[in-house]
Amino acid sequence: MLLYALRRLLLALPILLGITFVSFIVIHLAPGDPVAVTGDPDAPLTKEAREALIKEYGLDQPLPVQYWRWVSRLVRLDFGRSFSPDGRPVLEKIAERLPITLLLNVIEMLIIVAFAVPIGVLSATRQYSLFDKVTTVFVFVGFATPDFWLALLLIILFAVQLGWLPPSGLRDPNAEYLSFWTQRFDFVKHLVMPIAVATFGGLAGMSRYMRQSMLEVVRQDYVQSARAKGLSEGVVIGKHALRNAMLPIVTILGLSLPGLIGGSVIVEYIFAIPGMGQLMVQAVFERDYPVIMGNLVIVAALTLVANLFADVAYGLVDPRIRVGRRRR
């Protein structure tokens, strides 16, 4: 098992290098140099400031040299400084926002799994029942609903009309005057809508896969023999079938991560949550290119790490994978 995990880790290293390469290319192949379009278009940089920036970032050097310098600084975890007026180190900016995005995504993952698995199992074991039909409609609608639109509708209903939930941010402006538990409650209230929006589409997809996977498993012979030896339906489904039906879900969960993290851009933007997604949108509007590059690298590296975890988890639950059998 350890060997398997190590092999996955080794395979991930070239991808990590590739991430920096793609991030670099993406920014530098765009026509025009990053400094020319940097900052507020209404207050263009002075000539001296421009030249200082060009010097500092070595933008007058050939691209391979620039790439080499950039990567060798990345290795030392030096992501440069933001172009925005505060000029803070990029890593510092990302570090204060990363925990929020991670927290949201972990909660979303847990909710998706907690709901999708029972929904999928129930609609598979009661195929073509009313429950199955209702969830199928939910799945199709969930796939097709733009998350930003859902967010707007929820804000109109729960924040504007009913006034039950706060429309944006993470805490009440007067939170510091509230008692400890009211503060916690306030925080949870701020999270309800963003998390509902972010989980909606993923939940639809995941319960669909769970249903599909379960339907395939219950047709297999060993499920029949479990029934034949007189086990109760609950044990047959809950113990024998479920474990095998969960296998593809682990993979799909790993694959759906980039989508989930990408979705946090929209959710954090609409609900004004100070996370990585909001930072990215701000950086794009300000054309703050060190932050954009840093963000892209970190987000991709995070996804890579999460995929690695999913691979290892898959190896843990499925012995066939870790004993040999090369990738694809």
Binding site: A30, F140, F143, A144, P146, P258, G262, I292
Partner: protein
């Protein structure tokens, strides 16, 4: 009737999807004739009028007719859907067939590149690219296509891997057909079924992506009317003008839903076994 049509026409949901898609295409093409008002002309006397007989879907903050703007927005969605998926399918098919046909080192290199591209959350990648490009309709279509080809490449490669061992391919190789001819005339036509499905399911994904980018304000720029733009402008008037937020989103929902129904119908009619191949594909929409 061919077996495909028989299976397809038996699927009522897929037919509904096909009819709605056809209507949407018709509305988009005929938008200039159908739109009751000029979608771009502001009118200060008509700012934020609620839906009425004269303006069935109301007007926006500049007094422009929302129905007309949405009809023109359908053109953008349609164009973005078809062109960006066209780009993605071309890149994916070329790389996938080269990987699947050549195998070995070439295959490994291309597929690792696919893995690499899939590690990037698509929206982050799109934002990074668009930060330094002047956003126009063409750049949006281009970047959505350039970031959406990986699934197609995987599908095509998988098809090629199984097809290249088949007798008719071995036969044409043994009578001396060139590699290009084998791929183009013999393997590719047989590998197109999943590509067709990927296209139909890729269009709604591209439409969702475009509207998301336009909603963030970095997609197709005003004065172009797109569904995402209307939503973006409408969110500032959320409390007083619900119609600006409700209708464009509904249009996106119905469009994406119909393409998905159509795509799944085509898939099931072509080959039910394709289900599995697309299960993992659909998992990464954004």
């Amino acid at each position: 009737m061919s077996p495909f049509w028989r299976a397809f026409t038996k699927n009522r949901l897929a037919l509904v999807g096909a009819v709605i898609v056809a209507c949407l295409v018709g509305l988009a093409v005929l938008a200039p004739a159908l739109a009751p008002w000029d979608p771009h002309r502001p009118d200060v006397r008509k700012i934020l009028i609620a839906p009425s007989a004269k303006h069935p879907l109301g007007t926006d903050a500049l007094g422009r007719d929302v129905l007309s703007r949405m009809l023109y927005g359908a053109r953008v969605s349609l164009a973005v859907g078809f062109v960006s998926v066209g780009i993605a399918v071309c890149i994916g098919t070329i790389l996938g067939s080269v990987a699947g046909y050549k195998g070995g080192f070439v295959d490994a290199t291309i597929m690792r590149f696919v893995d690499l591209m899939l590690v990037f959350p698509r929206l982050f990648l799109l934002l990074a690219v668009l930060a330094f490009l002047r956003p126009s309709l063409w750049t949006i279509m281009g970047v959505i296509g350039l970031t959406g080809w990986m699934g197609v490449a995987r599908l095509v490669r998988a098809e090629f891997l199984s097809l290249r061992e088949r007798e008719f391919v071995l036969w044409s190789q043994s009578v001396g057909a060139s590699g290009f001819r084998v791929v183009w005339r013999h393997i590719l036509p047989n590998a197109m079924a999943p590509v067709l499905v990927a296209m139909t399911l890729g269009i709604p994904a591209a439409i969702l992506t475009e509207s998301g980018l336009s909603f963030l304000g970095i997609g197709v720029q005003p004065p172009y009317a797109t569904w995402g733009n209307i939503l973006n402008e409408g969110k500032d008037a959320l409390e007083i003008a619900w119609w600006l937020s409700v209708y464009p989103g509904l249009a996106i929902l119905v469009t994406v839903l119909s393409y998905n129904l159509l795509g799944e119908g085509i898939r099931d009619a072509l080959d039910p076994r394709l289900r599995q191949a697309f299960a993992t594909l659909g998992a990464r929409r954004r």
